[in-house]
Amino acid sequence: MAPPHSFFRSTSFRLLAWYAAVFVASVAVLFLIVYWITITAFDDQLSDSVERETEVLVELYRSRGLNPLVRAIELRTVELRPPRRYYLLQDAAGKRIAGNLPPMKPLEGERILPVSSLLADRSAKPDDPADAYPIVAHGRLLENGGFLLVGESRYRAVTAREAIVQALAWGIAITVLLAAAGGAALGVGFLRRIEEINRTTRSIIDGDLGQRVPASGSGDEMDRLAKNLNAMLDRIQVLMESLKRVSDDIAHDLRTPLSRLRHQLEAARGKAPAGGEPVIEQSIVEVDAILETFSALLRISQIEAGARRAAFSEVSVEQIVSAVCDAYAPVAEDRRQQLKARLANVPPIHGDRELLTQMVANLIENSMHHCPAGVDITVGLAQEAGAPVLRVADTGPGIPAGERENVFRRFYRLEASRTTPGSGLGLALVKAVADLHGASIELSDNQPGLCVAIRFPAPTAARGRTVQTQR
């Protein structure tokens, strides 16, 4: 629940990471195609070039004979102009006649010569960088049994390929950066608006129903979401207010005549004819019971509405529980029950002292009313996993497992306790107070008896929530 959410764990980050990955992958595929086509074009061009030169020299040999060919080759091997080429002319015996390559096996057609084949002859220009690269060569057998080979260094193709690879690497790096930066910019904006919605809903959960999600006014999907949420909140607020109005109306319209009735009964008390007094007393008790049920219902509704949370402060559960136990211990003793408190030191929680006091009192009274004389009622307070846990356990008849969920419902009473006094609202109030404090309730078998555990949230989490509310 701790805001601010890590950006890297957010949905928008995941979406953007996917988007960036797909984007980078498609750019990479595009670059690969460009690379492949360019390299192939370079190699084709090189093959064409050596083949054409071979044709020219073969043509020269055919038309003019061997000597002009030898001269032409010698002339070309000393030429400085690019493209730098390699030549070999050998006779039928495999002896070199001209050129700057060592003799080799006469093979027709294209082949690639490794760099090592050059080392035999470095007459021309030993420090030419092109010498460090393989050669694309084209060989032809001559009519006199001789062999002619023309080659060209792949130097330019290789350097061009390196340049292209470097350019593509930069291109991909920039693409990744742009995708990440653009994605982060979009994502942070998106996340900020989601966080605004989260903040608003949290303060509404904390009881401030007047909050609304801010809209940016751009009319986009987020604005529409904000608008719909606000419309829903308006509706909830109207419903809550009408519920509160109905409750208040019941309080005012029904309690007022009941109060009058009570006043009249009280006024009649002294004037009743002989024997009438007990009837009037009994009627006052009955009216008080009805009025009390009304109060309890209204109180539960108000607690559930959560408005009380605004008045929360740091309270010591330990102090509250200890005070309530002190108040009830003599009462239990008079009923021949034993009330024991086992209280550990727990950190203070954020809550409402008055309501927590009533909650503890209701739990103790619940055990006292539903247990016969002779039982032990133990109130325990412990710290478990950093959070205070209150346990009220008795050794009485307990509650069947199937009924445990129901006892927190208003007016719900177990079959066995229908005849005992009580409104059936005590545990409903306990639940309302626990919910208000974000605490969970567990009912379990105390073997024998009932154990009610109230697990409060860890104090740090509770404090974190207030800080947000105050923002």
């Binding site: 006024a267 109180r299 108000q302 008045a311 002190d326 008079d334 008055e354 006091t357 009533q358 009192a361």
Partner: protein
């Protein structure tokens, strides 16, 4: 005692006014918030009883206004809401006590008397004395006829509250609120149990009873009933 009542419900108003007048108090009554505010600012009342929900101007606003104007007279707020926040809001606005309708007249009367006699906090004596009973608030000791009585902390607080309101009726609800800080009605006899234990220690071994039960109202501590 001169008392002001601001209450719009005629029935409750008649009930309160008649009850108070029967006991010899002078009561001014106003049914609307605005008229009530005029009366409250004008007359010197010892206690004011103000309904929280009023037509025109509500009770909280009246209390805030008269407190801002410097009126110090104690105020008892009445309400029909079984409100959880109401008590706190009322006290924050400047009211001194709070009573939820419907109430028994005895409850109202006891609270009005307690408010009228509420001593300024600075003047509260360190040692409280009623007849031969003596309670030292600093040393936390209680003696009767010079004989030391050992009390539990809660019994001490209960006796202290009774002695501070000696000679007056204190109701069960007043005790719950002031001694135990219980702002709800428990379904067990907490007050009765603690009073009977206190009696056993304070009264039983001595001739004269100091803690009296006032039928239909509550308890009172004093030399004579």
């Amino acid at each position: 005692m001169k008392i002001l009542l601001i209450e719009d419900d005629p029935h409750t108003a008649a009930y309160v006014v008649n009850g108070l007048r029967e006991r010899g108090h002078v009561v001014d009554h106003s049914a609307s918030g605005r008229d009530g505010l005029l009366l409250a600012s004008g007359g010197a009342y010892e206690v004011m009883i103000i309904d929280r929900m009023l037509p025109g101007l509500d009770g909280l606003a009246i209390v805030k206004t008269i407190r801002a104007a410097g009126t110090r007279a104690p105020v008892l707020l009445l309400t029909t809401l079984g409100g959880v926040n109401d008590r706190v809001e009322g006290l924050e606005a400047g009211a001194d006590d709070y009573l939820t309708k419907p109430f028994a007249f005895a409850e109202l009367l006891a609270r009005v008397n307690a408010l009228a006699r509420r001593p300024p906090i600075v003047d509260e004596a360190t040692v409280l004395r009623v007849a031969d009973l003596e309670l030292d608030r600093l040393k936390r000791t209680v003696t009767r006829s010079g004989k030391r009585i050992e009390l539990q902390p809660q019994e001490f607080r209960l006796l202290e509250y009774l002695m501070r309101n000696a000679g007056q009726v204190v109701t069960r609800t007043m005790l719950l609120e002031n001694v135990w800080e219980f702002h709800f009605d428990p379904h067990t006899s907490i007050v009765e149990t603690h009073i009977s234990r206190l009696r056993a220690k304070v009264d039983r071994e001595f001739g004269e009873e100091l803690i009296h039960t006032v039928r239909g109202s509550g308890y009172s501590l004093g030399a004579s009933p």
